[in-house]
């Protein structure tokens, strides 16, 4: 167990004019830890995710990331080139809509291989072998490797997006409603797959979801957001089984029992 966090976030705020995106969010994330950020639409969870993944610059606050050389770097002081390099090597971003994270008009194999080629792999045979391996890990048949994701079902597209993100062995993955918009049975399969991959690869992940069941299954820790602020945080099962904040109690009591 590492005693040094992977990501340190301190007093992060993002304002859109006078409107609050997220305000004063602080936490540490350790390697191998999955943090769920829950809340309803407009609670600021996606703004927070976009700030953390440097897709959006915060209005104030800091986030430092421990690079592979062990040095902490201040994310918002890095050059764009460094941030983008980080984004396609050491990080992953799984979008709710796979079309936002995939190239829909190139083959599944090339979607998986792109990051490898971006970091300088120039051997077609090896790139393809790696793509085959990753497709099988996300349960996509090898004979679909040359098909475009346009021809894939929603669940397959999402699994392909995950493979595309994980192929460079990232240490931190951001996920925005990774199971949103999928059928329940497809969701279950995807969740199980994600859970296995996260455990096997020792990934740290920040998962934004409004689905408390997803949070319970994937995450060890949880932050509940409302109106841009964190209203409760802690161990996932503690927050769900013994919710303390009024809003968390409302969320938990709103879950439909099957």
């Amino acid at each position: 167990m590492s005693d040094v966090p992977l990501l340190r976030v301190s007093a992060l705020s993002k304002f859109y004019g006078s409107r609050i995106g997220c305000e004063n969010v602080s936490f540490d994330l350790w390697p191998g830890e999955v943090l769920a950020v829950v809340g309803e639409s407009g609670s600021g969870k996606t703004t927070l995710l976009n700030c953390l993944s440097t897709r959006l610059l915060p209005s104030s606050g800091t986030a430092s990331y421990r690079m592979r050389d062990g040095q902490f770097r201040e994310l918002y002081r890095m050059s764009e080139a460094e941030r983008r390099f980080l984004m396609r090597t050491d990080w992953g971003f799984v979008h709710q809509n796979p079309a936002d994270g995939l190239r829909m008009t190139v083959s599944a194999g090339a979607n998986v291989g792109e990051r490898l080629m971006a970091v300088g792999d120039r051997h077609y045979g090896k790139i393809r072998a790696t793509a085959v391996d990753w497709l099988s890990r996300v349960e996509i048949d090898e004979d679909r490797i040359d098909d475009e994701p346009r021809a894939f079902s929603g669940g397959m597209r999402q699994r392909l997006q995950i493979a595309r993100n994980l192929v460079t062995g990232p240490r931190l993955v951001f996920m925005d409603e990774p199971t949103g918009g999928l059928d329940v049975s497809v969701q279950a399969r995807l969740l199980d797959l994600l859970r296995g991959l996260v455990t096997d690869l020792g990934l740290a992940a920040i998962v934004v979801t409004h689905d408390l069941a997803v949070a319970r299954l994937l995450s060890q820790r949880m932050m509940v957001m409302k109106d841009g602020r964190v209203v409760e945080s802690g161990l996932t099962d503690r927050v769900l089984d013994d919710p303390r904040a009024p809003y968390t109690q409302l969320l938990v009591s709103s879950i439909l029992q099957v």
Partner: protein
């Protein structure tokens, strides 16, 4: 004799914000300790707060006041104030928990559900699975079920998977929340034997057993939870 778990003056209440913020006191002044190699049983009627105490000891419920001191690795940890990360470490290495209900994960086989806590502690997956097989066999779970996800199992079958999962590790502290509730007599005996083995191995056990026979068989002493009724102190 080592005392790996000391609970002192712990209090717990629920504030129901959706019901005008009414406060439901559960327990207060909870104080006891468990020694290695003994099995203590929480006693008292339903609603006295037995389960809540167990959940606080596992970090599953927050604690209003007091301390829960646990011998974790080479130091002492107060679980009542420990960080989530520390609670996870304590769960992985120090405190095991057998709940009443199995929280199943889609598509994971019963065997892997049982083996998982060992693998999490760094055990070789094959070794862990062998140990899981032995436990499932001991608990008379039909072998044809081992490779199936337990979601569709009967209550008794799920309970046995849950017990195997809880007993497979060598946590020095083990919490048992009615592990025998839906078992038949012969399987109850297996659980009694498992608990005896844990005691012999020096594990500190704390449990809730509604089944009188099981309680008689395993309990070294009974901690009367009614003594901690929150109303008494509040009154």
């Amino acid at each position: 004799m080592a005392t790996p778990l000391v609970v002192s003056d712990v209090a717990k209440s629920f504030t129901m914000h959706l019901r005008d913020g009414i406060r439901l006191p559960v327990v207060a002044g909870v104080s006891f300790s468990i020694r290695s190699g003994e099995c203590a049983v929480l006693g008292g009627p339903s609603g006295a707060g037995k389960s809540s105490i167990l959940k606080m000891l596992y970090g599953n419920y927050a604690v209003d006041a007091g301390q829960i001191i646990v011998q974790h690795e080479d130091g002492l940890i107060d679980l009542a104030t420990a960080s989530p990360r520390m609670v996870l470490a304590v769960r992985r290495l120090t405190i095991g928990y057998v709940s009443q209900f199995l929280r199943t994960v889609p598509r994971v086989s019963a065997l892997d559900v049982v083996a998982e806590p060992l693998v999490e502690r760094g055990e070789d997956p094959d070794v862990a699975r062998n140990k899981a097989r032995a436990l499932l066999a001991q608990l008379n779970l039909p072998e044809k079920l081992w490779m199936l996800p337990p979601a569709t199992f009967s209550g008794g079958e799920q309970q046995r998977v849950n017990i195997a999962r809880g007993f497979i590790t060598e946590h020095p502290i083990l919490l048992l929340d009615e592990p025998t509730a839906s078992l038949d007599a012969s399987n109850r005996d297996v659980v009694i034997a498992l608990i005896a083995a844990k005691k012999a191995a020096g594990v500190a056990l704390l449990g809730i057993f509604h089944d009188h026979d099981v309680r008689e068989a395993v309990a070294d002493r009974v901690i009367d939870v009614t003594a901690f009724a929150a109303g008494k102190i509040a009154a």
